[in-house]
Symmetry: C2
Subunit: 324 residues, 2 copies
């Protein structure tokens, strides 16, 4: 992985992915005690940054490989990103999804043209093994959700954009907070920041009980979650950091931050009233850290990524009814 791959991905994404805005609100600044700048990836195609990595990976395939179709496993956002990127590339996508994924994510993936195959998380079925088996049987190319160089390169374009936008707005930030699951987005952004912004430290934010990356960074080696707790942050409850993503994060990132589910819901309600944005729980962890963990953050300003907005009405309502 290197910065040239991210620059090349940006070229391939041009005119296909959206350049999402960097937003702010004086009301959020007051809560955080510093200026907060929010990279609104919820406005990306399919409602999350995952479209970037999917487009990057598909557009890097040769014509014949692309024609045979792709396969992905995902709890929902990578699923939609790959399905939509495949449709736009006029090829097919098989998506392996857990049966208990949010209903809207499954429906949307189908509606975007993906052939959805459901598996049972409770039965300890492995999505990796299911994915690899179908890929082999049907001659499909597996697009992994994060441990895949061209996916990381695509997500890294968020970093290129946000660094340029922050310069335009004279943002004086030392920390760039990123919602972190397997680390594809974080490692891509960290590579971009290392190349173009010497003073910006990228920091992971995870939900309590799924702080594998924070612990791995502290221990200097890959640690896993025991998956014994529930979290509303379905988009980022991965078992452990990726083999490709962890070394990058370990080299470039500052200490990880951890937030509670309740802090996510509060951040979602504030994004509703102050930014006019829908953020899903897993996409709101970085904003939650900026707002409610100010003491653990450095710098006059702070930048956060709002990574996805694919939340169902009931969950969103629970945020508004408790904190709206």
């Amino acid at each position: 992985m290197n910065i040239e791959m991210i620059e090349a991905a940006r070229q391939r994404l041009m005119g296909h992915a959206r350049i999402t805005p960097l937003l702010s609100s004086p009301f959020l600044d007051e809560i955080a005690g510093r200026k907060v700048f929010v990279k609104a990836e919820v406005l990306q195609h399919t409602g999350s940054f995952k479209f970037r990595g999917a487009w990057s990976a598909l557009s890097a395939l040769d014509k014949d490989t692309l024609k045979k179709g792709v396969i992905a496993y995902s709890s929902g956002n990578h699923a939609q990103g790959v399905a939509f990127a495949a449709r736009k590339h006029k090829t097919s996508a098989v998506i392996v999804m857990p049966r208990d994924a949010p209903k809207t994510k499954i429906e949307n993936t189908r509606a975007l043209g993906g052939e959805v195959i459901l598996y049972d998380r409770a039965n300890n079925e492995s999505r990796e093994i299911i994915g690899q088996k179908i890929a082999k049987e049907r001659g499909l190319t597996l697009i992994k959700p994060y441990d895949e160089p061209q996916v990381i390169a695509g997500q890294g374009t968020v970093g290129l954009e946000v660094i340029e936008q922050a310069q335009d707005l004279n943002v004086d930030a030392k920390n760039l907070l990123v919602c972190c699951g397997g680390g594809g987005l974080t490692s891509g952004i960290a590579l971009a920041a290392a190349a173009y912004s010497s003073k910006l430290s990228v920091r992971t934010v995870e939900p309590m009980g799924y702080d594998d990356v924070a612990r791995s960074l502290a221990a200097n080696k890959i640690c896993s979650n025991d998956n014994s707790v529930d979290s509303i942050c379905d988009a980022i409850v991965t078992p452990q950091p990726g083999d490709l993503t962890f070394p990058i994060m370990n080299k470039y990132c500052g200490p990880g931050l951890v937030v509670t589910d309740e802090e996510c819901l509060r951040a979602m309600a504030l994004a509703f009233s102050r930014l006019k944005l829908i953020i899903e729980p897993g996409g709101a962890v970085a904003l939650a850290a900026a707002l409610f963990h100010a003491g653990d953050i450095e710098g006059n300003d702070v930048i956060v990524v709002a990574s996805g907005g694919n939340v169902d009405a009931a969950t969103f309502h629970s945020a508004l009814s408790r904190f709206g």
Copy 2:
């Protein structure tokens, strides 16, 4: 009023107002039967396009006049726009608001530094007379919500942006639908479209019972509402088109469209799930027309303005619970 005033306003707004994105979703396209492009002015500072007109008007004042402070009357969005623009210009703003305006709009106007004076709509108090009286007593400059050239010029910058963005995205639209109250936004955009886009017809969209502009356009003269019905679209329930705005709309606009409150709520729920945007009822009328009145619209694609997002949690919940 002329296009040069809008171009000059754009210069004054540069670096202060946001260039808001033009968004779309294949799911909305399917409902509308054509591609729908949404100008997301809900992402503007203070949550609506009104910040543009406010900034334009304040930045056009001479230094001494600006220093004495400004006054505005508004049900909420112009109020917040003027209060925030005044604070950024380091001057004071008095805002005359109806006592029954949405609570969040009153609170936000105060929090943005506005001195709020409430009046009673039910007692037939006239906000115009109250505003003019205080302006005279305290030496303040009145910033009218729409019948004011520099305000129209500021709102017209939405038109300049959207025309350029539509060209970048190869949008093939004949109609540009605008949420219409007094007509400041519509007339500004209509002037921009007349100058730069020969094939784009600007069309007003209003809530049922407040279709004064549609009737005025049809009658070729200013007609009023009888204000006998309720509407959830508080931002755009004006009594009649403005003396300045109507001649512009009458010259350039196509026939007006009218939508129901229920169609607004459905559009708000779809903006939640498909665009990840919060739109308030009055800001959703144009999207509602694109989605549910497709037969009254011309062109392969259609552009709509989502003009504001300042809605309270309870109203938003009613949209999601019924149509989410």
